[in-house]
Amino acid sequence: MSLLRSLAHLLAELGRTLRAERVTVQFPFAPAELPNDFRGRVTIIEEASCKGCGLCARDCPALALELERHDREHFRLIHYRDRCAYCGQCADICPSHIIVLASELVSPTHDKDTLTQVLVERTGDSTS
C-alpha cells in the first residue's frame, strides 16, 4: 500500500535526520572551509614579473581589471573586486602566470574603497 511505503520512507528519513549534524557554518564566527581550487581573491604572486601587457584586462568579462599604462616602466593594474565575477580568465591568460585566485573569501565591507585594490604599481623606479 502506498501509505505504508511513504511511511517507511519518512521514518527512514527521520532516522537519518535525527542523527545528522547541522551543516550550516556560522561564518564569519567560524572559519569557512574552502576547497583547494576555490576561486577566491585575485592575487599577484610575483609582482616584479608583471609586464603590463594588459591581456588580463582585455579578457576580463566583467571589466574588473583596468590597466593604466603610460609606458613599460609606468603602469598601474587596478582590480575592482565588486565587479569581479571570480571566473579566473585573467589567471588563465596571464603569460607570466602570476595571477592566482587564492582560496580566500573576499569579505563584504561598508567601505567601498577597500573593494578597489591596486594589484601592480610600476613607477619607473628601477630599484623596485
Binding site: S6, P61, A85, D92, I93
Partner: protein
C-alpha cells in the same frame, strides 16, 4: 457567473522568475490567459557584440543560472567550429560529464518546485537536499555550484584525478537510490497523481505546431533528443535511452524528467569510467575567421540553438540564442484553457519555464 482577473506575476509565489500571466477566471475555471514576458531581459545579445570571444564565454554562462554549462558548451562548440579546432577527447568527456550532472541537478530542482506548487513540501525538501550531492560534485570539479566556468574555447579548464572519480562514483550510487525513491512517489503516491494526471495536456499534434522541444515534447510522444539525433561532444560514444511518454500531461513530464535523471546518472558513470588521458585544451587563436555557424545542444529544457556570425575580428558580429523555453511559453495558452485555477501552478511548473533563458 462573474469573471475575475487573477494576476500571476510579475511577482507570485508560483513563479521563480518574473513573468506576467493575467488569468480570467469564471469561478474556478480559467477562460482566458494573457502572457507577457520580457521582465528579465538584459540585452545580452547586444552585449555579446561588445565583448571579445573569450569574455563572452562567461557572459553566455549567465544567460541562465540552472543550465549555465550547456550555454557555454553550445557557444564554445560554435566558435570552435568557426576556428576549425579539434577539441581533445579528455576535454570533451569532462564537458559532457558536466552537461549531464547539470541535467540531473536541473531535473531535481524542477521536481522539487513542482512538488512545492502542488503542496507536497516533503518531496520539495527531499529533492533539494539530494540535489546538494550533485552541487557538491560540481563545486569540487569546477569551484562553483552553478556558474562553473569550465569551458574554454578549445577545451576545458578543469581536471580530475582517479581518487576524485571514485568518490564521485560512490556519491552517484547514493543519488541513484534517492532518485528511485522519487520515482516511487511519482508512480505510486495517490495525491501526487490526482494533482498531475490529465493536467495541462498537450497532444503531439499541438506540440509539433508550437515547435515544443525537450522533455515537454517527449512527454507528448514526440521522439526527439538532440543527444541521439545529432550527437555533439561525446554523446555518440555513450549508451543511453531516450525517454518518451504519451499522455502529454504534467504526470508524463514528471516521469520523463525523473527517468531522464536516471539515464543521466548512468551516462555520468560511463563518462567517469572511460575517461581518456590527454591534454585538456588546444590553443585557440584570438581572431575568428569570418563565417557563420549554428551550434545546437540538448539543454535540460530542450534544444538550445546558438547562431554565431563572425567578421574576422576578435568580437562576434552577432550571437543569436534560441532557448528551449520560448516555444513552451507559446504552448502555455493551449494548456491553460479551461483548467482549474488550482492547477495553474502545476501547469506552469510542469513546463519548466526558465524565463531568464527566454528573455535573455
Amino acid at each position: 457567473m462573474s469573471r475575475i482577473t487573477i494576476p500571476i506575476g510579475p511577482q507570485h509565489p508560483a513563479l521563480k522568475e518574473p513573468l506576467s500571466l493575467l488569468l480570467t477566471a469564471e469561478g474556478e475555471r480559467i477562460v482566458e490567459s494573457t502572457l507577457r514576458i520580457g521582465y528579465a531581459h538584459r540585452g545580452l545579445e547586444r552585449i555579446f557584440q561588445n565583448r571579445n570571444y573569450v569574455q563572452n564565454i562567461h557572459i553566455v554562462e549567465r544567460v541562465c543560472g540552472i543550465c549555465s554549462h550547456v550555454h557555454t558548451t553550445a557557444y564554445c562548440q560554435g566558435v570552435e567550429a568557426l576556428l576549425g579546432l579539434q577539441v581533445p577527447p579528455r576535454a570533451l568527456y569532462l564537458r559532457t560529464l558536466l552537461c549531464e550532472l547539470e541535467r540531473i541537478h536541473s531535473h531535481l530542482l524542477w521536481l522539487g518546485v513542482l512538488a512545492e506548487h502542488i503542496g507536497f513540501t516533503t518531496v520539495f525538501m527531499y529533492t533539494w537536499r539530494d540535489r546538494e550531492i550533485v552541487l557538491d560534485i560540481m563545486e569540487e570539479l569546477s569551484g562553483g555550484r552553478v556558474a562553473h566556468a569550465v569551458n574554454a574555447i578549445g577545451g576545458v579548464r578543469i581536471d580530475i584525478d582517479s581518487e576524485h572519480i571514485d568518490s564521485i562514483l560512490a556519491r552517484l550510487d547514493d543519488l541513484e537510490r534517492q532518485i528511485d525513491t522519487f520515482l516511487g512517489v511519482v508512480l505510486h503516491e495517490h495525491t501526487f497523481q490526482v494533482r498531475t494526471h490529465a493536467i495541462g495536456r498537450l497532444t503531439a499534434e499541438q506540440a509539433r505546431r508550437y515547435c515544443v522541444v525537450g522533455p515537454v515534447a517527449r512527454a507528448s510522444g514526440i521522439d526527439v533528443d538532440l543527444r541521439r539525433d545529432e550527437p555533439y561532444a561525446v554523446y555518440d560514444q555513450l549508451d543511453f535511452r531516450v525517454i518518451v511518454a504519451h499522455e502529454g500531461d504534467v504526470w508524463a513530464r514528471t516521469m520523463v524528467r525523473t527517468m531522464e535523471s536516471v539515464e543521466s546518472l548512468q551516462m555520468c558513470r560511463q563518462l567517469l569510467r572511460n575517461l581518456p588521458d590527454g591534454p585538456l585544451a588546444v590553443r585557440a587563436p584570438r581572431h575568428v575567421p569570418a563565417g557563420e555557424v549554428i551550434s545546437r545542444c540538448e539543454a535540460p529544457r530542450g534544444e538550445l540553438v546558438y547562431y554565431i556570425r563572425s567578421d574576422g575580428s576578435d568580437r562576434p558580429a552577432r550571437v543569436k540564442v534560441r532557448t528551449p523555453t520560448l516555444p513552451s511559453l507559446a504552448a502555455l495558452a493551449e494548456q491553460l484553457q479551461d483548467i482549474n485555477t488550482a492547477d495553474v501552478p502545476a501547469v506552469l511548473a510542469g513546463v519548466d519555464l526558465c524565463i531568464a533563458c527566454a528573455d535573455r
